[in-house]
């Protein structure tokens, strides 16, 4: 099947800071005292994480994905452009995926400029996915969360205008005014790098991405509603006259490959649990600043009573809600084939370093996946097709 012949494997790194202060149960966001940051440890981690991303490039991953969060141990990337710039210099062939700066938190022309810089520096290897930014980001950036969505849409219009209309142009919006919108440099790729919107299931985000002809991706949305919104996104896009294909949607999965399933569980599982228990965890207060969540989403959240951010995470819960696989190359390949078929997506983000995973496991995971899993798709092994069907 053509879909499985053309899979693109994107290695995503969260770059977490894993030396957590003891006994902090409320999560590592917003008000975690930054005195806990040790720059020597930070330096060690940046080197380790960049090594892993560079290895990903050498091993043949199609993309290297970085993202952005503020004031949190979840991520050492309050600016993903800085890491993107490093990757442009350190890597040779993988896409550099800026997935990405919450554009409403900054000035949109800066995103246009910085991403264009990385695109030109890397000879046209940038891809872009833009999130609204979690509620937590709005507590630590001077931007009113009750206008987040409106501001996001305006900022996206400016990014596209900056990249598609020869400058200088003018922009008169509610939040941003540009007398001369004239970013320099402009992107290497013409008209511009591919753009996705990162959503979490909001109806209005799907509608926005579909209307504008962007791609669409989701993070940490349970599988069933996620697949439903992908379908909805495809229908909405068609309604607006935008054709979708297998690259229009990006899915993501947590993956650990080892010699045996048992070994994969032994080596990988604790780090995934660390991620969900300690890094993703936050409070309802920080998760939902006023106006950031559409009221219908909050309603669903209150009615369902459980969310990944504030409940006790169990391994079983994770496996029912998200794409998680730990196993042999064969087991991992089968799952990936199934997930991609299910979502009709040929782009899959793989969380190959998760939580407090040590360097050697990340290297092992990246290597085994590249050497033992990817080739099964590159040659579109018939066994896999059967598995998917």
């Amino acid at each position: 099947m053509a879909l499985l012949d053309s899979l693109q494997f994107y290695f995503m790194h969260f770059m977490p800071y894993t030396k957590l202060p003891p006994g902090r149960t409320q999560g590592q966001w917003v008000d975690i005292p930054n005195a806990h940051f040790d720059p020597v440890e930070g330096n060690r981690l940046y080197k380790q994480y960049l090594d892993e991303l560079v290895l990903g490039d050498q091993l043949g991953y199609d993309g290297l994905v970085v993202n952005e969060h503020h004031s949190t141990f979840y991520s050492l990337m309050p600016s993903c452009s800085v890491i993107g710039g490093a990757l442009a210099a350190l890597t040779k062939r993988a896409k550099i995926c800026m997935f990405g700066t919450p554009i409403a938190l900054t000035q949109p022309h800066r995103v246009a400029e910085e991403y264009a810089m990385i695109d030109v520096m890397s000879g046209g290897r940038v891809e872009v996915a833009v999130p609204l930014g979690t509620g937590m980001e709005y507590f630590v950036n001077p931007v009113n969360p009750s206008f987040a969505r409106e501001r996001f849409r305006e900022a996206m219009d400016i990014l596209v205008q900056a990249w598609t209309q020869p400058g200088p142009t003018r922009y008169d919006g509610k939040f941003f005014q540009y007398k001369y919108l004239n970013p320099f440099p402009t992107p290497y790729q013409k008209p511009h790098p591919k753009i996705y919107i990162v959503g979490s299931g909001s109806e209005e985000t799907i509608a926005f991405a579909a209307e504008k002809g962007f791609g669409y991706s989701q993070v940490f949305v349970p599988l069933a509603p996620q697949l439903k919104s992908f379908q909805h996104f495809r229908e909405e896009s068609a309604r607006h006259g935008h054709k979708t294909d297998s690259e229009s949607i990006i899915i993501s999965a947590m993956v650990y490959v080892a010699e045996t399933e048992q070994k994969a569980m032994e080596e990988g599982r604790e780090h995934m649990m660390f991620y969900f228990k300690h890094l993703l965890k936050t409070s309802q207060h920080f998760y939902a600043p006023p106006g950031h969540l559409p009221i219908e989403r909050l309603k669903k959240r209150l009615e369902s009573g459980t969310t990944i951010q504030d409940t006790e995470v169990t391994w079983e819960l994770l496996n029912t809600l998200y794409r998680t696989v730990l196993g042999t190359p064969e087991q991992v390949a089968e799952k990936i084939a199934m997930w991609c078929e299910q979502a009709q997506s040929s782009k899959i983000i793989l969380h190959m370093h998760v939580g407090d995973m040590p360097h050697w496991k990340a290297v092992k995971n990246l290597t085994l996946f590249a050497e033992e899993v990817m080739p099964r798709f590159r040659r579109s092994a018939p066994g896999l097709r059967q598995a998917a069907e």
């Binding site: 507590f139 001077p142 009113n144 969360p145 009750s146 206008f147 409070s283 309802q284 207060h285 939902a288 600043p289 006023p290 106006g291 969540l293 009221i295 909050l298 309603k299 209150l302 009615e303």
Partner: protein, 262 residues
């Protein structure tokens, strides 16, 4: 068009449409007009204001974005609310000799209304008002307080909230609170004051009463003096054992206001 219903508390419930937005208003009593601008939470109701209706027509409109009024997506500043209320006063024919009372966020709106529309007013009462920047006694940034930790900031005695919300924090109330907090954030996420207001307050020339709960942990009672210093005809009344939701905790404060308005 106006529809009216009398509810069991003695308020009459009315609806009207202003600039395309449906707004809801409670009225009670008969006499010279008193308009009450409520604070950022309307969920506890307004029964404690009914003594004001003994000698006045009391109007308690719900701000757009609050209570039973619809949202107005154009409103994102205190000035927008002042213009909204200039419209509403026109609609009600309230062109002179109106007594205006504002609590907390509503106090800020009332102060700005007095700055810009003072000619319509007879007297002004500000009840633990937001709006003024007093660096020595700063207003609490409510947005930094998780909902479950909020009660002791709002009232001197947390049992007061139990009386206001006998059913507790149901999901319905949580959603209503989220909506009202969002409406508040639209005008005051950055700060619950306008640094320029102190420059403008000398335009308030009507007799003004400042009422404050001495246990107010949202907006400290010491701010009363900063207001009184800038308003020519101001007096200050403070009440012990009462917090930010002053009228819910102090019947004396309601009586003091009633005396001021009579």
């Amino acid at each position: 068009m106006m529809a009216s219903v009398i509810d069991k508390t003695g308020f009459t419930s009315e609806e009207m449409v202003i600039r395309g937005v449906r707004v809801h208003m409670l009225t009670a009593g008969r006499g010279s007009p008193v308009v009450y601008f409520h604070g950022a939470g309307s969920i506890g109701g307004f029964d404690h204001l009914l003594p004001l209706a003994e000698r006045h027509t009391l109007y308690v409109p719900a701000h757009p974005g609050f209570g039973a009024s619809d949202d107005d997506r154009h409103i994102d500043s205190i000035l927008d609310y002042v213009v909204h209320y200039a419209d509403l006063f026109d609609r009600l024919g309230l062109n002179e000799k109106v007594d205006l009372v504002g609590h907390s966020l509503g106090g800020w709106m009332a102060a700005m209304f007095a700055v810009l529309q003072g000619h319509r007013l007879r007297k002004l009462a500000l009840v633990s008002p937001a709006g003024l920047r007093v660096p020595e006694h700063p207003t609490l940034d409510l947005f930094t307080i998780p909902a479950d930790q909020l009660p002791p900031y709002l009232v001197a005695d947390v049992k007061t909230l139990g009386r206001l919300l006998p059913g507790g924090m149901t999901n319905e109330i949580k959603l209503a609170r989220y909506r009202e907090t969002t409406s508040l954030a639209r005008v005051a996420w950055d700060r619950l004051y306008d640094p320029k207001l102190e420059r403008w307050l000398d335009r308030v020339t009507v007799p003004t009463l400042l009422l404050w709960g001495e246990q107010d942990r949202c907006i400290p009672a010491q701010q009363a003096h900063s207001w009184a210093k800038r308003i020519a005809k101001a007096e200050v009344a403070t009440f012990p054992n009462a917090g930010h939701l002053l009228f819910a905790e102090s019947a004396d404060a309601v009586q003091r206001l009633n005396a001021f308005l009579s």
